[in-house]
């Protein structure tokens, strides 16, 4: 059915495994995407509304048919409401992930989260101080309990502002105050967003979109930031460590366990269980050389950042990884796990285990992990995986693994710079580094797999722009070889010089998709060092292959924080030119940053370079012409 001449991926492991999947009769995301063509034009333009059942309604973009829903909502209102609900769903997802970590933190404090511990006491103290807690004379566990309680308050409605907005530069906070964008409570903003988009509540498309920004900020500086900070406290602040990436990280002679999903709460326990001596001995008894734990998607990124555990692939690789036939077990938690993977695994011996009380999937065995039983459950499932090794059929591991370095937390980056962002600021001032771009987000079958990420990243580093990445992008870039200190050779002369001096790659892996907040913290540190607002910095964001609601929220909190952000695929807003022009132009007067849409990564690179040079000009720094 698929056009044979259409190249689906730029990756070698991806295209070989796609061939294998096809031979094995597996239907992948690409076939399903093809079967959906042409996709609904009303929905694609944001012009369909399913919010109430006076509808469903749609507005005819050609003006012949209806121009308003049954309730009277016109194209502007319908498009805005739909987009707002995407933001709410994205914020809810990441922030609920954060909530699970806060529960573990509380569980560690009261002794119910067995096997979890405080790995970074320093960070616990630092964050506790930011929450205004007195730290002197308190036991670690006592402080952890207090911090968990304080974070729970952030989720509620008892305060005027969530705590960690204090990390943003003063000028930024003043803008948020001026436009009423300061998030008050994490769950509160999502609830209010859902309330406002109910039929007959907020029908001003501009105020709806302002609430969407406040909602996104409640995630970026709230739920997601809590997720990252508590993960660091519980599992350690990431530091650079070598790792390997691509499908080649699966081992023919070892028990291969793949963790898929997002939250380190499960994957950390699995990683601990894989080191259990008697399980390793059992693996050997079964004829395997050992137990090989690898990741796909962001829970893999969490492990890579802290333990150097290998990454087998990103979003569009999740089905293909199973088609190697080498996966003895895939353990999933939540988010971005295609409901198809259970069926794909059914073609092989692979056991599929779902672990979260909030996420179940077809053709998977459900074994619920909770903070009080996770340690023991992890041992249980790893044992099952080891037992399953004997059932393997033919295996195809198509490529050799690619080396990479990951684990660049803000703490590490500042540490590498000698404890202050000053050297980076100097390099930017001197023009050796023109600026920085955070490339984040997903894969999407609408864009050739990893083409957007890799092309954009290459163009930017060639032009002396430092790239930091997270999520699925970070896997694409690691596979492309950008994450080794030697990759400095691919960078422009200025960036190359800085990378060589510091011994870092030109592309820094900053973590999972909740870890985008590390980028917010980094740009805040840079802005404070320069005494300017984030929107004055020569930085930008990009999501070249985004697909999910979470990505809409991330993009929105980037823009609301002052970072101009490029999107590859077009969000469903073209039904309202008012919304399009507000997001791509009008927001400049509100938050000093806008969105830009450009599916072609070469053109996007041009746009991002221009954005950075314009910011440099405004700061009085030297400017390059972007040809």
């Amino acid at each position: 059915m698929l056009d044979q001449n259409k190249e689906l991926t730029v990756t070698q492991d991806g295209s070989r495994l796609y061939e294998k999947a096809k031979m094995d009769g597996i239907e992948t995301v690409w076939e399903r995407h093809e079967a959906q063509q042409p996709q609904c034009g009303f929905c694609d333009m944001g012009l369909s509304c399913r919010i109430c059942i006076m509808g469903p309604c749609r507005v005819d973009p050609f003006g012949e048919g209806p121009q308003a829903g049954v309730c009277g909502a016109d194209a502007d209102i319908i498009v805005a409401r739909n987009l707002c609900r995407m933001v709410a769903a994205g914020a809810a997802s990441h922030s609920d992930h954060g909530r699970d970590l806060v529960e573990v933190l509380a569980g560690v404090a009261d002794g119910t989260a067995i096997g979890y511990q405080i790995r970074d006491e320093e960070k616990l103290k630092r964050v506790a101080q930011e929450y205004g807690l007195a730290i002197d004379g308190k036991s670690t566990l006592g402080l952890a309990g207090e911090l968990a309680q304080a974070m729970m308050e952030d989720y509620g409605m008892r305060q005027k502002a969530i705590k960690l907005v204090s990390r943003a530069p003063e000028k930024r906070r003043a803008i948020w105050e001026k436009f009423n964008l300061t998030p008050r409570g994490i769950d509160r903003e999502t609830s209010e967003m859902m309330h406002r988009t109910h039929m007959g509540v907020d029908n001003n498309w501009q105020t709806l979109l302002l609430q969407a920004m406040r909602n996104a900020l409640s995630d970026g500086w709230g739920g997601s930031m809590i997720a990252t900070e508590v993960s660091d406290i519980l599992f350690g602040v990431p530091t650079p460590r070598p790792t390997t990436v691509n499908a080649g990280v699966l081992k023919k002679d070892q028990v291969n366990i793949v963790v898929h999903g997002h939250n380190p709460v499960v994957s950390e326990m699995v990683s601990k269980a894989c080191l259990t001596e008697d399980l390793v001995a059992l693996a050997k008894k079964k004829g395997a050389e050992g137990i090989n734990l690898v990741g796909v998607c962001c829970t893999g990124n969490e492990l890579l950042m802290r333990r150097g555990i290998a990454m087998a692939g990103n979003h569009l690789m999740t089905e293909l990884i199973l088609s190697t036939g080498a996966v003895d077990m895939m353990i999933v938690d939540y988010q971005c796990i295609m409901p198809s993977v259970g069926k794909v695994a059914g073609c092989y011996h692979t056991k599929m285990i779902s672990t979260s009380d909030k996420a179940q999937f077809p053709h998977m065995e459900h074994k619920e992990f909770h903070p009080d039983n996770a340690e023991q459950k992890a041992v249980e499932v790893v044992r099952e995986a080891v037992e399953n090794f004997a059932n393997r059929g033919d295996v195809l591991v198509p490529v050799a693994p690619q080396k990479a370095v990951g684990g660049f937390s803000v703490e590490t980056i500042i540490g590498a710079l000698g404890g202050t962002p000053e050297p980076l600021v100097e390099a930017i001032k001197a023009g050796k580094i023109r600026g920085a771009v955070g490339i984040v987000g997903c894969n999407n079958p609408k864009i050739k797999h990893d083409y957007g990420h890799v092309t954009l990243t290459r163009k930017l580093i060639e032009n002396d722009i430092l790239v930091v990445d997270t999520g699925c992008v970070s896997v694409a870039n690691a596979k492309a070889g950008f994450k080794l200190p030697e990759a400095a050779d691919m960078a422009g002369p200025g960036l190359q010089e800085i990378c060589n001096a510091l011994g870092i790659p030109p592309v820094l892996h900053m973590g999972s998709c909740v870890d985008n907040v590390r980028i917010l913290v980094l740009v805040s540190a840079l802005a404070n060092a320069l005494g300017v607002d984030i929107s004055d910095l020569p930085v930008a964001g990009s999501a070249p292959e985004w697909y999910s609601e979470k990505a809409v929220t991330i993009g929105t909190y980037f823009v609301a924080s002052g970072v101009t952000t490029h999107l590859g695929p077009m969000p469903p807003i073209t039904g309202s030119m008012n919304v399009v022009s507000l997001l791509t132009d009008g927001l400049k007067d509100v938050v000093g940053a806008t969105f830009a849409v450009q599916p072609d990564p070469e053109k996007a690179a041009h746009f991002l370079r221009q954005t950075i040079e314009e910011k440099r000009k405004a700061l009085g720094l030297d400017v390059r012409t972007v040809g």
């Binding site: 609904c40 034009g41 973009p61 050609f62």
Partner: protein, 209 residues
């Protein structure tokens, strides 16, 4: 010869065919850009609502003999010999609407069109996507229809298929409807909602009288 065949019982009223039709008769050929064109392209297929608000994709039947063609004194309407498609020459159309009055199906519209003369309204109707078909594509409305209400096939083949379905439904042990349960359920509910409305009106009317 293949033609567009309408299967009304399958139409879910999504109006996708209208969007696809307008887009494929635009200059830019892309949905978003087409909505920004002046003059705006318009669909040649029109989804109407039936008595129970079920959708019905209404398009030119390319009748033979075609009443519109007989009524066209300007000689703008002609039939392409090899395909049987009835076409309107935009340069000869005098916008008199005689064709529309003659058309038994109400599928001719009058407006300025991206593919017609500038600044001048003309009669516009389905052209069987002649230019798409010439390029090896199928008509846009058929390509976009996800429920099978529009197909592009030999009429005889479509009729054979329907004949078979009808025959099978006559078997004694056949399920009463070939319609998926969910679709049938929705139809039943919609019908009863509407019947309630109309009977309420009737009883109101009765009281008044």
């Amino acid at each position: 010869m293949k033609q567009v065949v309408v299967h009304p019982e399958r139409c879910v009223g999504c109006m996708q065919c209208m969007l696809a039709c307008a887009t494929s008769h635009s200059k830019s050929l892309s949905l978003f850009a087409a909505t920004r064109e002046t003059p705006q392209p318009k669909p040649r297929i029109h989804v109407g609502a039936g008595r129970f608000n079920e959708g019905f994709p209404n398009r030119c039947r390319h009748c033979d003999p075609a009443p519109c063609q007989s009524a066209c004194l300007a000689g703008a309407i002609y039939r392409r010999a090899n395909t049987g498609t009835v076409l309107i020459n935009p340069d000869r159309c005098i916008n008199c609407a005689s064709c529309a009055m003659a058309c038994p199906y109400g599928v001719i519209r009058f407006h300025e069109d991206p593919l017609g003369p500038a600044g001048h309204s003309i009669a516009v109707k389905c052209d069987n996507c002649s230019s798409r078909v010439a390029n090896g594509l199928i008509p846009a409305c058929v390509e976009t229809c996800k429920s099978g209400a529009l197909t592009y096939e030999e009429m005889d083949a479509a009729m054979r298929r329907k004949n078979r379905a009808v025959a099978r439904s006559m078997s004694l042990d056949a399920a009463s409807s070939a319609m998926p349960t969910g679709v049938a359920l929705l139809k039943t509910v919609r019908q009863s909602e509407l019947q309630l409305q109309t009977s309420a009106l009737r009883s109101q009317g009765g009281d008044n009288a």
